[in-house]
Amino acid sequence: MASEPAGAVERLAAALTRLPGIGPKSAERITHFLLTGDRDVAAMLAAALKDVIEKVHPCRECFNLTEGAVCRICSDARRDGSTVCVVETPRDLAMLERAATYRGLYHVLGGRLAPLDNFGPEKLTADALLRRVQRGEIREVILATNPTLEGDGTALYVSNLLANTQVRITRLARGLPSGSTLELANAQMLTDALDGRRAF
């Protein structure tokens, strides 16, 4: 571990390099821009950061990020409360929302089961999901964790946890992306597509 840099400028650059996709060069460029450019931009950024830190927190129901007690999706009466889609992160939720075809609710687990990285099931919001299901209004839980080994392990853990409830548990389909061709698919995509085939 390097020792804590002394000055405010160095501290800002060091903080920026911890952001995803920003290396030392970009951090230096951004720092320089904030210091020498329009001071209002820097002040606006500082205020916006302070705002999100103070105001944004997990939704009481689904753990999506929100400024209220309950998020926009959970409080929308037009959404179908009998279906809950379980995702790893708020970012995954945002991606599904962008597809704009799903009308049910969500549950954000807050990560994936990654015991090799010391991220065990106790760090997930799975117990809260079980309590939601036990209230009885949910009929179907769609497991939409990533199709990686750890994502599948997470889905397995959640489905085991819900096994003694009456809820129907489904998993996102996998296989061929629309607009692609068989020629471009790898062996696993073709196997998944065959396994996941349905009546036509």
Binding site: P20, G21, G23, P115, L116, D117, N118, G120, T148, L149, E150, D152, G153, L156, Y157, N160, P177, N186, A187, Q188
Partner: protein, 244 residues
Amino acid sequence: MSLEQATALVVRGSDWSESSRIVTLWTREFGRVRALAKGGRRLKSNFEVALDLLTVCNIVFIRKSSGGLDLLTEAQVEERFTNLRTDLPAFYAGCYVAELLSDLTEDYDPHPALFDEALTTLREFGGLGKLTGLRLLSFELTLLGELGYSPALRGCAVCQKPVEAGSFGATAGGVLCPTCRLKERDARPLSPGAWSTLVALQDDPTQWRRELSDRIRTELRQHLGLYVSTRLGRRPRLLPYLTG
């Protein structure tokens, strides 16, 4: 710098940047290799799919002579273990295999027989129920043997005097005679049933389909857990998830 080809099992992966990953690969030809995979997170890339945990892939990489990270240039999926994705104890056992291969072995110290045994083990996990623990135990003994850490089971680990069940010391490295057990702080009782299972599996790792009581399976898991922890210098991360 040289260009190398290998068959590899992905045993660890972490994001390095938005577009690249650092992966620990356990290869048949070179043992443990740690490499940077640039573009390893690009959407839909075959590369990313091949670098998922516990995937077997054919890789091409540039071996750095300076001792830095190697650079992965190609990775094609060879085999995936879907059985680890449908059975939670199998998932945890598979992760434990990855942890042992990644953390108990050295860079560029190949053990092709251990590589083959790891793949056989991963194929056999899934749907084994209570036998999952014994299948794992068999793998652990093979791994310890390959790495030169086999527990002493027929003679006292300290004074070599012939001895069987009775007491097991993880630090000393095996069974203990009545005299030596008094001096070993981590000596624990070893039942005849647990001892004979360890001996049978050490002699023939394929003999893991054995009817054992829950008590003996739990005892074996505890002994092996402590034994591996001692060799590793820390408690394995997966240990709390394993059942006997």
